[in-house]
């Protein structure tokens, strides 16, 4: 028996897994359309390679990974690209993002693909293959898997496979492990080889005895040293840091790569995806999705990426009082902005929700500093302090108290007797801090540019002055040489004036031309303006007037060489 470690905190919400874990995985039928976002992973968006009207084959690359952290996007089936455009995606913001809409032709015709022998291939080639296959973490983080195989100079001792699946309701990994244990183990072998890890530990929560048994059996068949460990059921025992802690005793701080400590962790479904990508050259086109909650037939489906959620949910027969959908589990999931969004690589579960199933929490009361949240926090944080600072927008303080070590697991909110949406406050604070950071960078850049400009202007002035002085000197010299004729000095002045006039005239002409143009363009779309837009325009005009004044009052005195006429 392995000695297991514990992490601080954790909670035991009702698991509600039985509903969906009973039935085997069913492939979902081809949907009427697939909406495939180009940005389903952490990192840079993939660059579209197709345009509307293109015919594509199943597994054809349609989005090319761009610089650094990025991953490829593929057509999930064969068909025609109907459009490339902004569609609402499965994201907490509810904002649209770039997607390819694919109308399947029903033939499900594969593009050419072939596997590779990972044992003989160079590491870089294996990683590039994964990148092109669009394999990203399916445990929830959707981090490109190829990046996780870069270990730098660090020696990897343990490879951890995450089969904990600690979130309530979700059973996709459970079913996967029961039904496709062998393939997962094959994936683990590939990963072990790529990482050159000494041991492979598969952590599975002890409430999934069938999965543990299946995995043990498959592991026994492997030539690698693969140990399947039953870990205690506690949320968030499936968090990578927590699972690593439980299995190896190693704690990985925020901002530290686990490879630095000799551990790497992959989800079991990711391992399977990696196996299929390497062995058969199959890109990641589908995933297992648990459909559960307020439905009659909760079960797991194998779903093509891009399948609209409403078409998927219909398979499970939702009850009529369902009023919204959650992607992910009840602890960390996000509410979907609409049922029309499509399944993405991060979609491990769709929960049909109703007010009865998830009654709205009572209105939050003030924090009474009961520290239940601190007792539940798996990151050993003081959530009540983080909340206090986030609420007061004291972001510096929040950061001092390690806001960024928070894994947003929601355990604190779950236990809070005041029902404070703590995680919300942390997310808010984090995104504000990020925004500030980038603003500050922009300001620094602006300062630099401004200072450079000042310097440049100063230098130009200096140069001009120098030149002038030199000219003057030359003129002086010339004057001295040509002793008598005295009128010559006035000549340049007049030419100057006339040339300036000419410039002025040209500008005037241009202005007139532009005014005509402007007059002909301007009234274009004023009628359609909403009152709000009109108000906005008025406001902008007022502001401009003000700025003009300001600009003039400052510009008039020292800077400008030509006194400017009011247009």
């Amino acid at each position: 028996m392995r000695t297991l470690y514990q992490f601080h905190g954790g909670v035991h919400p009702p698991t509600n897994k039985a509903q969906s874990a009973r039935a085997p995985i069913v492939p979902a039928p081809l949907p009427s359309k697939l909406v495939i976002p180009f940005h389903q992973h952490v990192g840079n968006m993939a660059k579209p390679l197709v345009k509307a009207g293109d015919r594509v084959l199943k597994g054809q690359l349609i989005g090319m990974p761009e610089d650094g952290v990025s991953s490829a996007v593929h057509a999930s089936t064969s068909g025609t690209i109907a459009s490339i455009g902004m569609e609402v995606v499965a994201h907490a913001s509810g904002l649209p993002d770039l997607c390819a809409t694919l109308i399947p032709d029903g033939k499900d015709e594969w593009a050419m693909h072939e596997g590779m022998d990972y044992r003989s291939a160079a590491d870089a080639d294996v990683r590039f293959a994964l990148r092109l296959a669009g394999v990203v973490g399916l445990g929830g983080a959707v981090y490109p898997s190829d990046m996780k195989l870069r270990t730098g100079r660090h020696k990897i001792k343990s490879l951890v496979l995450n089969g904990a699946e600690c979130e309530p309701y979700i059973t996709c990994d459970d079913r996967l492990m029961r039904e496709r244990a062998a393939e997962i183990i094959r994936g683990a072998e590939i990963l072990r080889f790529a990482l050159d890890a000494e041991e492979v530990l598969v952590g599975i929560e002890d409430n999934k005895p069938e999965a543990i048994a299946a995995m043990r059996q498959a592991a026994a068949a492997s030539s690698d040293k693969i140990e399947v460990v039953a870990v205690p059921t506690i949320y968030p025992g499936g968090g990578a840091k927590q699972l690593i802690r439980v299995l190896t005793g190693i704690e990985i701080a925020a901002g530290v790569r686990s490879t630095e400590k000799g551990v790497q962790c992959f989800n079991v479904a990711t391992a399977l995806g990696i196996y299929r990508a390497i062995q058969f050259g199959e890109p990641l086109l589908s995933r297992i999705v648990t459909v559960t909650g307020n439905v009659r037939n909760a079960q797991n489906f194998e779903v093509l990426i891009g399948t609209p959620v409403n078409e998927l949910v219909a398979l499970a027969d939702p009850l009529p009082d369902t009023n919204h959908y959650i992607m992910g589990g009840p602890m960390m999931g996000i509410p979907l902005p609409s049922a029309q969004v499509s399944v993405v690589k991060a979609t491990n579960c769709i929960i049909a929700a109703s007010d009865k199933l998830f009654p709205p929490a009572p209105p939050p009361m003030p924090c009474i500093r009961c520290t239940r949240c601190a007792d539940a926090c798996p990151a050993d944080l003081q959530p009540q302090d983080l909340y206090w600072f986030a609420k007061a927008k004291e972001f510096g303080k929040a950061q001092e108290y390690h806001l960024f070590d928070c894994i947003e697991c929601g355990a604190c909110s779950y236990v809070c007797p005041s029902h404070i949406p703590l995680v919300q406050y942390y997310r808010f604070a984090k995104s504000e801090i990020w925004a500030r950071e980038s603003e500050k960078n922009a300001a620094d850049k602006a300062r630099e540019r401004h200072e450079y400009r000042e310097y440049r202007i100063e230098r130009e002035k200096q140069e001009k002055a120098d030149k002038l002085a030199a000219k003057e000197k030359a003129a002086q010299l010339a004057r001295e040489q040509a002793a008598k004729p005295a009128q010559s000095a006035s000549v340049p002045a007049t030419t100057d004036a006339s040339s300036e006039d000419a410039v002025q005239q040209k500008i005037q002409a241009a202005i007139n031309h532009a005014k005509q143009q402007a007059a002909s363009v301007k009234p274009k779309n004023i009628e359609q303006l909403t009152p709000r837009q009109q108000a906005e325009i008025a406001e902008i005009e007022a502001r401009r007037a003000h700025i003009r004044e300001l600009a003039q009052s400052h510009v008039d005195h020292p800077h400008v060489d030509h006194p400017k006429e009011a247009p």
């Binding site: 003030p366 206090w388 004291e394």
Partner: protein, 191 residues
């Protein structure tokens, strides 16, 4: 030694210069918004007050005497102003960071009632040299202590849902009042 420690203890807790004697309130209210500033101000005041207590004792004992008692205030304040200016120059040179934080407040030490009040109280209580120093240091440590604690409370109150009209100095004043109330618990500890 014991009686000196008692003087020290009494000056820090029982007769706390700010909360019981009500002296030195302006810097107490002004420099307690941030913990670091409070600590810095406390350190500077402790330094000045200890020196000032000793110096004023010597002046009172050896230069003034009973005939020139009418020069007490004048000579004390002049000496204090000198010590403060000296401290200011030293801090500006040695710790620009501290100077930055205390910037506007260092000169205010001169107008900190406690700094003149403690030497005057020393004269009133007929303390000897060592007693004067201990009393001065105790007073200053008491000042520092409550200011640091106060700053801690004020930092925490930043996030509190204080009614609009009490935001800022009013609630700080209430807090000082409740602190003063709590410090009454020390009364009687040193008779």
């Amino acid at each position: 030694m014991a009686e000196y420690l008692l003087i020290l203890f009494g000056a820090v807790f029982v007769n706390n210069i700010v909360l019981v004697k009500i002296l030195g309130l302006c810097p107490f209210m002004g420099v307690s918004k941030k913990l670091e500033a409070a600590i810095g101000m406390g350190a500077a005041t402790t330094f000045v007050l200890t020196l000032a207590s000793g110096a004023s004792y010597l002046i009172n004992q050896y230069l003034l005497g009973p005939e020139l008692a009418y020069l007490t205030t004048l000579s004390f304040i002049v000496v204090i102003a000198g010590i403060v200016q000296f401290t200011e120059m030293v801090v500006a040179k040695t710790s620009p960071v501290l100077y930055q934080v205390l910037g506007i407040y260092l000169p205010l030490i001169t107008t900190n009632c406690a700094v003149l009040g403690i030497p005057l109280l020393n004269v009133q209580a007929k303390h000897n040299f060592l007693e004067s120093i201990f009393f001065g240091m105790g007073g200053a440590l008491g000042f520092t202590l409550v200011m640091v604690l106060f700053a801690g409370l004020r930092e925490r109150m930043e996030g509190a849902d204080v009614p609009a009209i009490f935001k800022g100095s009013a609630i700080a004043m209430v807090t000082a009042g409740l602190m003063s109330l709590s410090f009454m618990g020390f009364s009687g500890l040193v008779k």
